[in-house]
């Protein structure tokens, strides 16, 4: 099926990043895809070359989750947090922190799902601890952060060797 919704990303206020995207699926299904480990690890894989060997989700308020990504060169990247608020199938609030965060403090993520005519709009708001943290994330999202740095190095080395 054609890709229905283009992703919109905005820097809102001083500390937030807001992402909005539409999916051609009922809300319950999208909610499952965000909260069931067996489904999450099928799409939240990161850039090419990465897999998600660890995806543990204790889905209840106060419960925690833990994600680990692994690159085929052996590098790993982990993150996790605690669920603060859950309203099935419309709202999830959780904290998030990377093991080797390149920005200060812990962030709070809110996922909102609204359904209309069989389509679900997902709004993800991540609030960082400071303006500096938010801007660091925008400057170095996951793919251009720690992880992909190694990829580029690898490519560079391959080029040099050739």
């Amino acid at each position: 099926m054609a890709n229905p919704g283009k992703l919109k990303v905005e820097a809102r206020g001083d500390r937030e990043i807001v992402m909005t995207r539409e999916f051609t699926a009922p809300r319950e299904l999208v909610f499952d895809a965000f909260t069931k480990p067996g489904l999450v690890r099928q799409w939240l894989l990161g850039p090419p070359g990465w897999t998600m060997p660890v995806c543990e989700i204790d889905f209840r308020v106060g419960g925690s989750y833990r994600y680990v990504w692994r690159h085929n060169n052996g590098n790993e990247m982990g993150m996790g947090g605690v669920y603060r608020e859950i309203v099935v199938p419309e709202r999830i609030v959780s904290t998030e922190k990377f093991d080797e965060a390149w920005y200060p403090g812990e962030a709070v993520g809110t996922v909102l799902l609204t359904e209309s005519g069989g389509r679900t709009t997902v709004t993800q708001v991540v609030q960082y601890s400071s303006k500096e943290a938010r801007d660091s994330v925008l400057k170095s999202p996951m793919e251009s952060g720690v992880a992909a740095g190694y990829d580029r190095l690898e490519q560079l080395l391959a080029q040099k060797a050739a």
């Binding site: 099926m1 995207r21 400057k139």
Partner: protein
């Protein structure tokens, strides 16, 4: 920094995002995208005093998003594209990363949507076959 007679400040990403966070300032930038304009021209579409507009212009200037002509009497403001492009490029990289994830999610959702239908079809087929066999054996 001075370029072609326009005085320009080099802003940080912080200043750029802070400047862009305000709807009046975004409207001013949109107006300047059509061409240079003086403070009074910029104030026209808004129900705002010139000093209020000047305050917004100062924020945009500090962020390096606009510059002002030095010589002309009306000191027209001009849009500076570079910091805007830089800020939107960061957002674009971030957007592309997530769009990649979400396209996989699209595919997964399609699979999940068709899964119950397939199961139901398989069940119906199995049932039909079963009835068929039963009819033949009885």
């Amino acid at each position: 920094m001075e370029l072609h007679g326009y005085t320009q400040t080099v802003g940080s990403l912080d200043a750029t995002f802070a400047a862009l966070a305000d709807p009046t300032r975004r409207a001013i930038l949109a107006r300047l995208a059509e061409g240079d304009a003086s403070v009074s021209e910029l104030a026209e579409p808004f129900a705002m005093s010139q000093p209020a507009i000047s305050k917004h212009l100062k924020v945009l200037e500090r962020a390096g998003l606009i510059s002002r002509a030095r010589e002309a009497q009306r000191r027209p403001r001009r849009l500076e594209a570079a910091p805007l492009a830089e800020a939107s490029q960061w957002i674009e990289t971030y957007r592309q990363f997530w769009e990649g994830q979400f396209q996989r999610l699209d595919a997964l959702l399609d699979q999940l949507k068709s899964a119950p239908k397939k199961q139901a079809r398989a069940k119906r087929r199995a049932h039909a076959l079963h009835t068929h066999i039963e009819r033949r054996t009885h």
